[in-house]
Amino acid sequence: MLPQFIVSVITILVVIHVILLSCSYLIFLERKVAAWTQDRIGPNRTNFSFGLLPFKGKHFGLGQALADGIKLFFKEDYTPPQVDRVLFILAPIIVVIPALLSWAVIPWGGYYLFDQAFTVPAWLPLLGGVVVSPTIVNVTAAPINIGVVYILAIGSTAVYGVVVGGYASNNKYSFLGGLRATAQMLSYEIPMALCVLVVILTSHGALGADQFVHQQANGVWNIFYQPLLAIIFFACVLAECNRAPFDLAEAEQELVGGYHTEYSSMKWALFFLGEYIHMITGAGFFTLLFLGGWDLPIIQEPLIGGLGLVLLKFIVFASKILVLLFVMMWIRWTLPRFRFDQLMRLAWRALIPLALLILLASGFLVFKQHAKWFSPWLYTAVNIGAIVLAAVIGPFLPQGPPMNRKVGLAGSRFSPVV
């Protein structure tokens, strides 16, 4: 217990600071990616002097992230008079807490080996003088054996903050944003959970986050076995953290910021922080399930090792997350936002049936996995088959009622009456 406790505390301290600092730089990266896609240069001037320190040069604009943070601290924190004051203050907290909790089970660095017994230095309070015997521990904050279920459970509570914030603001835009967030979260939880279910099924019923990683480290990454499932899951992750093209809850153009319309200063920044931590967690979850966690392809790294190996694995994990975050931003600046009925249709008419189909077929394959003809690549075949099937029979399925069509008003030149 004790070695695990020490490692957990160190992991929490390291990861929380890495995440919080990287959030401000993710905003910087987001602005850069936005600029690059729009043929601009992006923020590149703010250096680290902030008008006070004797720094010269531009530092590639890296000071911008910190300057943004400082600005947010010093802005006026205005609470509009008509809001529900308790909930209004509570909402940003409810957003950030699940975001900070949900990465607890992500196995950042594999395993760490205490190869010799050692004594905790006597000057430490409580633990001083305790002898630790050689043991292997997880480099994660909370090594529980229902890791993925935990992430799913905690991740979906983040919507409460959005809904409460939208309700408490006493503003119609905010309220609409909250409503949209609720419906969206309800719809996209289902395909997400189905995707996780399929991966659990094909990973021999593993539930602990670290088990997924070594199964993929020993074999092939799940993304090659389940390409379509990975895409569905990624779409759900995007919807879960309210990212474009699923950012209907905030929708700057229609809802002037949606649920955070009435928020300012650090309360607003907490919403923003929550969104970005959510993105990191979502990307971590995706890496865990489909990209092999800390596994480097080609190199067969040892499973258990010292500090160097743990650091290497941490860096590999972090860079995979970074790539995914880049993809999220890339998608944000490529795809337009869905209309609300399109959003619902995508979930209920495309993602859920496809995920169910893959679940059914994968379940059958798992049932037959001791048969002679079985090969894990059949999962890939199932995924490709699902895409083809969707493209072939999709147009023949009953269409929904026509929505948002042009209605001919009597007297207009589109009118069928005239």
């Binding site: 990616v33 600029a35 896609t37 043929d39 601009r40 240069i41 490529t334």
Partner: protein
Amino acid sequence: MPIADEDLIVITPTAIKRSESTFLPEVFMGLGTTFKHMLGSVARGKRNKAMEYPEERREDIPVEEGGLYKPNYRGVHRLNRDEDGRVKCVACFMCQTACPAHCIHIEGAASPWDDREKYPIKFDLDELRCIYCGMCEEACPVDAIELTPIYDIVGLTRQEMIFDKEKLLAVYDKTIEAKPM
């Protein structure tokens, strides 16, 4: 007036293809397009037209590439001097009359010199009010008022941006090389 039927152009959107209706291929094609733009921007290729303003200026690049054509650019005004260094203006009020924004205010007085009757003792030009149409330059019978290619003038107050005679003459002294009279 209703639009005549023969003037209407009816456009029927092409039917959505099967590959398009599944979204996925189109999404990846769109991602490819934006990625191309990203690569072009990171490399500062010819697609990226953004300039870093105070260091890079439009007047420094050729006109064909979107540069600024200095000879007919209409920027801040100047009052020209004649060969003797006197103000060239004869206080005829032509520019003040021609100005559509009413931003020029002249007070004339009897000239101390023999070659002209009047000269301006006061010549105020509100640079914030001006619309930089160049009508004053067109109207001037003695080519006294001109517009220079300078566009980055700043001031901390509105009062500061009302250029008086000395200031306008100072602009002339500064820009005489850039735009010979």
